[in-house]
């Protein structure tokens, strides 16, 4: 799990798991927050390359990190988000919060 978190400059890169649900979302959020605080990173990048399933818990992870970093001018990004994940983000009104990056 620890190798899925990487700090590059001012960005925390998180490789999201295959399935994102309530069961593992708490752990991801807590780990991310530890990096945000201890490494003082301003932005968070979520990589959905591996992800085949996500429910509203994933939305909670993104929204929670956004709230933590946006007051300091930080941004959240999503890379490798397939149609399914894009649709979930759109339905949750996150399209103005998360910047989608095409590879």
């Amino acid at each position: 799990m620890e190798e899925d978190f990487k700090v590059i400059d001012n960005y925390l890169m998180i490789r999201m798991p295959e399935e994102i649900d309530h069961h593992n979302s708490v752990d991801i959020s807590q780990r991310a927050d530890r990096y945000i605080v201890s490494k003082k990173v301003g932005n968070v990048v979520f990589d959905f390359e591996r992800t085949t399933f996500m429910d509203s818990s994933g939305v909670g992870i993104i929204l929670g990190r956004y709230r933590k970093i946006s007051c300091f001018g930080g941004k959240v990004y999503a890379v490798n988000a397939g149609n399914r994940i894009r649709r979930l983000l759109l339905l949750s009104g996150l399209e103005n919060i998360v910047e989608l990056i095409e590879k």
Partner: protein, 162 residues
Amino acid sequence: MIEVREKKDYRLVTNEMRLEFAAVSDNESFARMAVSAFIAPLNPTLEELSDVKTAVSEAVTNAIIHGYGNRGCITDRVQMNCELKGDILQVEIIDRGVGIEDVDRAMQPLFTTRPEWERSGMGFAFMEAFMDDLEVVSSPEQGTLVRMYKKIGLGGWIVSEE
């Protein structure tokens, strides 16, 4: 107690299953896999499969974290009843937890009783978006029943029309 087993007309029912599992978060993925396997014979499209899995995941998560307050008690139970009438899937997720006082308010997007848990408040909205129909029956201290319907195999129908 929420009445679940009313007198039922079985004439149109083509398949049925009932599951009961402990209200612990490990079982969220178990419930998703079980419902996927149940509808597999209908040849659902990937999209339909994702829709059903997401909706079931939301309902089961709600039962575990809101119904039973996320206490992880092994004797708390969530029931999942699935039924097919031809290509119409009905899923019921039932808990005997705290219940919902105001169902309409709970179903509003972004509403959450637990802002400190970083829930998105999108659970019911996702169930509504991904299933064809959604009913919620609940009463305080009795529990909650979520009943969802979806027609499966629409993909095959579209292909054969073309």
